[in-house]
Symmetry: C2
Subunit: 304 residues, 2 copies
């Protein structure tokens, strides 16, 4: 039994109101697998990098017990590179550079040892590649979580809708939920999206927390109010990774477990934004995570 994470493993250059980085390691699969690794020790990655990707970075993933057999290294090619600049509200950003490089013709390889996949995290990528991964895993996983973004709604909506029809949990932000559904009200947006395939919808609202929709039930998770948000990059991927990592740990798919998974995912995401890139989520202790989760409890509990 394992948790397979597919997504980019890449370089980012990030500018926020608080600072700027050179090329640092990023990518949806990097963030998500690191986050998941704190809950589950059979995390396996499917991704592609160029020969410019530092081997010590791969070794660091392995130190987190992340299996990188499915991480292809393309000789003579370059890794995906993204550069972006955040606005003051930290909820919106401009993309400055997107060099697809190895991602342009990414053909995901699912090693035989990954066929025990029970939990599948489809990180943000071309919907077509996400579909390919689903089709190449022979036994339908118990839970498929899909993360995507407005970019694919703009240029590959039909592919995206097909992929969405094949999954269990969709995670998008509020603007994307509105775009995908054509509904302004998030309740109406959720109702529509839940008819497109997924039984669960998570709407991520950055500093405002997240909403989980399932049938007629809604759960609102707060975000931890933070004094410093250095860099929101990867927060969504970290959230998704923590979410599915927790689900893999508990093993049973239901609304109550998902509520907790959202809290654990949010806790991981709250660490992620405290430093640039993956720096903070590479070196967490279980004690730190447990006490961060307790902050979410104190933050939201009231006794009538």
């Amino acid at each position: 039994m394992s948790l397979v994470v597919i997504g980019s493993v890449a370089f980012d250059a990030i500018e926020t109101p608080f600072g700027k980085t050179d090329k640092i390691v990023g990518g949806a699969a990097t963030y998500a697998s690191l986050a998941a690794s704190y809950f589950y020790d059979k995390v396996k990655i499917v991704a592609v990098v160029g020969d410019d990707f530092p081997t010590e970075e791969i070794a660091d993933l392995n130190k987190h017990k992340i299996n990188t057999e499915g991480l292809q290294v393309k000789q003579g090619e370059k890794s995906f590179f993204w550069a972006g600049k955040y606005h003051n509200d930290m909820n919106s950003r401009d993309t400055l550079v997107t060099d697809l490089n190895v991602l342009a013709d990414f053909d995901p390889i699912i090693p035989a040892s990954y066929q025990d996949c029970e939990f599948l995290m489809l990180g943000n990528l071309t919907p077509q590649v996400q579909q390919t991964v689903i089709s190449r895993i022979k036994k339908r996983p118990k839970l498929i979580v899909l993360d995507t973004m407005n970019f694919w709604m703009d240029i590959a909506l039909d592919d995206l809708l097909k992929t969405i029809s094949m999954i269990d949990v969709l995670t998008i932000n509020d603007a994307e939920a509105r775009q995908l559904s054509g509904e302004y009200s998030l309740v109406k947006a959720a109702r529509k999206i839940l008819t497109m395939g997924p039984a669960y919808l998570i709407i991520k609202k950055g500093e405002h927390g997240a909403l989980l929709f399932h049938e007629d039930k809604i759960f609102a998770a707060p975000a931890l109010p933070l004094a410093e948000v250095f860099d929101p990059t990867g927060a969504g991927d970290t959230f998704a990774g923590g979410f599915i990592g927790y689900m893999a740990k508990v093993g049973t798919v239901n609304f109550n477990n998902m509520k907790n998974a959202i809290i654990f995912g949010s806790a991981l995401a709250s660490f992620c934004v405290e430093k640039f890139g993956t720096e903070k989520i590479r070196n967490l202790t279980q004690q730190e995570i447990a006490s961060r989760v307790q902050e979410f409890v104190s933050l939201s509990r009231f006794e009538l």
Copy 2:
């Protein structure tokens, strides 16, 4: 013992993406006193209207057991009139018309029968008038709640800061908290504002709920996700009225009671936005309020 509410009693004309009204009855004190009246039966209003204000509207406040002895009716003058148009996100709006009329030289009269005031709600008004009310209540109330807005920060900051130094609870929205403190992070903003006088700060975030700050504690209340938000006008005043009405009912000022007061205030506000103006909050039952509050419990509760 009583709860005194000061603020505008006025006419509004409202345009939202979902519709448009003619002149309807509004005003901070109208919304706040109606909301408070569901929790406490000694609500007393201090306000001013012109002779254009319908007497049946005043009678309707009295039907809610709201004492209107402090509501001055100025013969030959017109009531305050505000017209506004909401943007698509319903969290921001443009003011189209502000006719101060009777508010221009409002000299608040505190009837002798109001001197038993224990809970004082200073609805959005000139900070100078809010100060006058504080000075005219002889015994310092147990709890003073102040609602204000960016407008007074722009044109009367010194007066506003003085008023803020005299109160216990400040309620503003997130943009206003940032403006008042000069800090982008709401945590840092709150830390600064809590040095300005109030022991409690409530930051209202519209569809994203509210945050309560006190010493080093934070409580995050969700907003109820609604399928239809017809009109956000008065939601903040309704929230504040429900909040202080609940505090007056329980009588003891502490963080835990304030958490619950925020949930009750949010519940009232969630009704308010379902119809234009005060329509919905004029005709609520205790049963409706109790079941709405239970929705907040289901929405936010998780069991680790």
